[in-house]
Symmetry: D2
Subunit: 394 residues, 4 copies
Amino acid sequence: MPAGRHFLQIPGPSNVPDRILRAMDYPTMDHRGPAFADVGRKALEGMKGIFKTDSRVVIYPSSGTGAWEAAMVNTLSPGDTVLMYETGHFAMLWKKLAEKLGLNPVFIEGDWRGGANAAAIEEHLRGDKGQEIKAVCVVHNETSTGSVTDVAAVRRAIDAAGHSALLMVDTISSLASVDYRHDEWGVDVTVSGSQKGLMLPPGLSFNAVSDKAMTASESAGLIRSYWSWAEMAGPNDTGYFPYTPATNLLYGLNEAIDMLHEEGLENVFARHRRHGAAARAAVEAWGLEVLCNTPSDRSPVLTAVMVPEGHSADNFRAVTLRNYDMSLGNGLSKVADRVFRIGHLGDFNDLMLIGTLAGVEMGLRDAGVPYRAGGVQAAMEVLGETALANRAAA
Amino acid sequence: MPAGRHFLQIPGPSNVPDRILRAMDYPTMDHRGPAFADVGRKALEGMKGIFKTDSRVVIYPSSGTGAWEAAMVNTLSPGDTVLMYETGHFAMLWKKLAEKLGLNPVFIEGDWRGGANAAAIEEHLRGDKGQEIKAVCVVHNETSTGSVTDVAAVRRAIDAAGHSALLMVDTISSLASVDYRHDEWGVDVTVSGSQKGLMLPPGLSFNAVSDKAMTASESAGLIRSYWSWAEMAGPNDTGYFPYTPATNLLYGLNEAIDMLHEEGLENVFARHRRHGAAARAAVEAWGLEVLCNTPSDRSPVLTAVMVPEGHSADNFRAVTLRNYDMSLGNGLSKVADRVFRIGHLGDFNDLMLIGTLAGVEMGLRDAGVPYRAGGVQAAMEVLGETALANRAAA
Amino acid sequence: MPAGRHFLQIPGPSNVPDRILRAMDYPTMDHRGPAFADVGRKALEGMKGIFKTDSRVVIYPSSGTGAWEAAMVNTLSPGDTVLMYETGHFAMLWKKLAEKLGLNPVFIEGDWRGGANAAAIEEHLRGDKGQEIKAVCVVHNETSTGSVTDVAAVRRAIDAAGHSALLMVDTISSLASVDYRHDEWGVDVTVSGSQKGLMLPPGLSFNAVSDKAMTASESAGLIRSYWSWAEMAGPNDTGYFPYTPATNLLYGLNEAIDMLHEEGLENVFARHRRHGAAARAAVEAWGLEVLCNTPSDRSPVLTAVMVPEGHSADNFRAVTLRNYDMSLGNGLSKVADRVFRIGHLGDFNDLMLIGTLAGVEMGLRDAGVPYRAGGVQAAMEVLGETALANRAAA
Amino acid sequence: MPAGRHFLQIPGPSNVPDRILRAMDYPTMDHRGPAFADVGRKALEGMKGIFKTDSRVVIYPSSGTGAWEAAMVNTLSPGDTVLMYETGHFAMLWKKLAEKLGLNPVFIEGDWRGGANAAAIEEHLRGDKGQEIKAVCVVHNETSTGSVTDVAAVRRAIDAAGHSALLMVDTISSLASVDYRHDEWGVDVTVSGSQKGLMLPPGLSFNAVSDKAMTASESAGLIRSYWSWAEMAGPNDTGYFPYTPATNLLYGLNEAIDMLHEEGLENVFARHRRHGAAARAAVEAWGLEVLCNTPSDRSPVLTAVMVPEGHSADNFRAVTLRNYDMSLGNGLSKVADRVFRIGHLGDFNDLMLIGTLAGVEMGLRDAGVPYRAGGVQAAMEVLGETALANRAAA
């Protein structure tokens, strides 16, 4: 094990802060006993504030993919058509899941370099005269590309088309890092996970569920048991769960909720935006290209960087891991070995970011990838300007 | 929070030892990085030794109920008949799950006072001339009643009937506490969970899968994605997972596997048998009745105790929790308020058992439940005899 | 490592609760930085409430023996006479320390079976016409014998004798377990340590210092640097220390102070008295003798038990450790191998006590020490009566 | 509490690695029981390897200042002359301690900009015809200035002068970070502490003791008890301590010893030298001056940086703490507010160093201290060259 702290700069799992690790490091309690109700209620109610919703939040002991599955099996029936948008690898995986569940996904192809295009969605919905499309599914922050979809615009598109489809949004890598508003944006099912903005280890996933989605679940024909909202609802109302919850992760979740409110959600979002800007300034200074070529869609959570033709992103990542003990995200499927991804999310600060970008800059050199020095310097300038601005405003 | 250590004497989650809590209290790592392969392989291979199998083990980030679902959706098709045995509440829940999945469970009724009757199973199978029954499902240690099913006998029953049904066994509350042999007993799918004999917090579940079951999965018609063995198999072969695993729980699992082997599985089983015997001696001395009235089926893991008519088991448990800071298990469904359950499993020793039984004896008094003093004394005698016996043998 | 939790039933270090271990398990901070002042002040001010004093408390990174030395080197000069009382082994060690420091201890001999006799102290002081005696030193709770000295009575004895000697009291094993009042009882220097009633690991020690003692320190001639109150006073006033403090133990100390106030100091004392009574009931039922034969002086913190002639207390302890994974205290110097000591202090509750006494009872049997069964039962009766009494009062 | 990990870049306490925090986070054990001997022996024997000595190591529950005191009170008598060298603030404090102990320190004045001058020491010793000087005391790594003394040269100076004085060396901030050889360099008493290169929280201190020093202790006249080597020796021989040790810190110490050997002490030293060189390259690029102006004496552990006239180092530190959540060391006494100190020791790596230096560079700007940008870039170049060199050699 090398000296010093490993830099875990994949776009999630993010670094788990000591407060959360310690909160989880307590004896497991009786999940049927009276004291548990406080733990359960705090988690279930507290997550409403994070999703910005007044309706129901469901918590699963599962990975985020489980919450994708839950969103669909609770609301849809075999053969239902769903409109999905190819923002990247995770949008593709969600589409494959829909196929496995016996749904009929209509997939709007994309080039992986921006968020979902609301106009294209609107056009599809307008064409669906029979209202065959039962749900529109988009990924808020596409973890494979570093692009953010404008969810409010998607909502407006659905409304403009006068369509009744449910809106489902994957916020696995955006929740608690990027501004998100389940109720205000009229989302029906928001999917999320524990190991990114919530700063927890993986093992919990979430559905935030609108009343419309809950009503849809009453007639949804897909088979479900583990993921059933109906089974959850009763016990959840008093702070309990229908089966044994992941108690120690819930301890950590409650600590995370406290931490997010102590910092203030808007401050958390601003911190991520600032770090995203600094990271992109570094990429630009290096003379490299950010995968997301739509400036408005660039992610505050991660930056995917293209390596020049003839060079291997994976070799660069291996060199960086070996020489600087830093893990970076790899390029997935269509962009395998063509991009690397820098995670700058969760429990993170300016000096950790600079350490991260220095690891990239030195790794580029060591791996023989053509670049111009000065990326770290450029990022420091961005941070410095905004630090001064913060102080002026305070 | 009261002084001293809470006695968590429900039949699971069991007490998580410090070694395991500390093992989990490490930063989450990159689950796609090279170092993770060692973690993943150790867990996947190590669990084979715990199940006593040479075939595949699958690990899910989920509660134990998820592993029930996994066993079925991977091997069965809509409308398939499964033979199940009513050993208690958890057998009933598994049957309900089968119904939700669109299966056709044939449920052999039981009185909740013993394990599954192999002869009755054999009779059913002999009557199934068309081999309509696709699986026989039994619960090894019925957590709601404290009864153990003789799984080897069930295997012999299936063989005697010349039946091709798969054998599925729930070992959620027995694995790593009660002798269990997946391969030797010819089990096709063993289901288990992390929070009992494995001494972990809840959040991981397991399937051990025979080659026959794996073959069955190729033609099984139930829809599956999260639970799919096929998706797991490829990544698992090199120590990875198809979706983000519950990394920190895997750290703990690997520590648990080490601890179990350090003590020796046979010693772990003997320790639980000894504590079961001591607990039952206490119940007998109190003049109360053990729910399981089949002596050979009494569980080494928990003891369910019937309270006399006209008295409330739940009131007794509430009094005991308030006065002695000990959580006991409640009676479920058919035996609600009629029994309480003493967990004596996992990371447990003689003096913890005596403290537990003292809490019961004092709680009976405080709650006004009729009993005879002397249960703790009787348990100490059993422990003393076997302690001396151990020393004579050593 | 055996299964289950070790029973650490020596009379200190006591069991460290999870809350305190977790509080200490945080990164060390800059002990000169602005955030440290809160940590330091909370500890220094908070300990005043525990000592029940309004005057100064000094905290050392050292064992309790260091705080003995500190009490003397800050207040006395070479050759000074100090009156000490032989309550047991630790009183003897303190006397030896006085000798090493070049003081002249007058040692009132005792039989190790009770607290210090205030009348004998008064007689000595009345005989000291020249006020040669500069300090009277007594041990509040003699950890080697389980006897408590009536400190208020010692104060009255000094006053009755019209003597100006300082009163120094060792509360290493009593503070935060046995009622203690530095100011009200007119104590000049109270000595204490972290690893008993304060529920911390060893490594911190304390002096509570009256104004009279502080004044005495100005002219005290013994050499001192590490232990110097004068060096501490300035930095302590703003929450800092003159040399690097044991930061992580201070984190734990602050958590301990919170826990003690949450339970309520008077409740903490009552809990210890109740457990002392139950432990002594067990000893009586076993037909064994408590070393402290002065009923009013029997300790709420530990019970020292005499083994019958011809039997070895140390062999009994070794057998108990091997068979039941419980550590008990040994007999020291004059009572070596003649007594064993049961610690029942700190973070402790009824069921832990019963487990402890069961370990003793089974250990006596296994070691062949003559005893009558029934000690555990007798203790349960004492606990039950007082539990019911508590409820009636509540 | 700000987001992300605090940068604790004072020159000790250093960052405590998770492995050590977790090792300490275990229940305290019976320090008189049989299992403790392994803990004690491992610590006492293991520290010999770290000091590179075959003779005795003594471990105190105290701060490092306690070990200074221990070195003197065990070997010297009232009025003894000791030769000390003013390398900086800590040398001054040690001298003040000598005065408080009633010794007669002869203090060779220095300008705080380099290590102790061996030639000056030799000259003093040659002048001491009557061998009045009983000990020569030097600080190996002066934490207040970032200068290293060539201890082997001091040894040669003593030998060249034919002097019998003991050689005492303070390695509080160098041990396990800077090459050190107690036996080979003929040191008689080495003083050290836990919270720097040993990566532990503060609370343990050390003396390594040559046979000559041990012999001297037999006739040394200073009063001692807590610090007495003679009291330690007997119990230490079997792994025990004469008074309650700081058990949980010993758990951590044993983990630290393992970690240092896993990395290899020579690699640990090389890592610190490399980081020192990179830090100094940054200072040079900023156009600032390193306090230590003797290139051969510059510390691998910390870099003290002078701020230009008219600017406040303390204001810069406060700005940096507020804006970048990084703690830096302050200038002490003679250089108060004139220098700041960057700690780069203990559990530390390249990216943490760059983050640290970026915090300095951005802090200089924010605080309005004149500097040239490019320090971080310069450090990255040094790291890159040596990383490539390492790979070429591997």
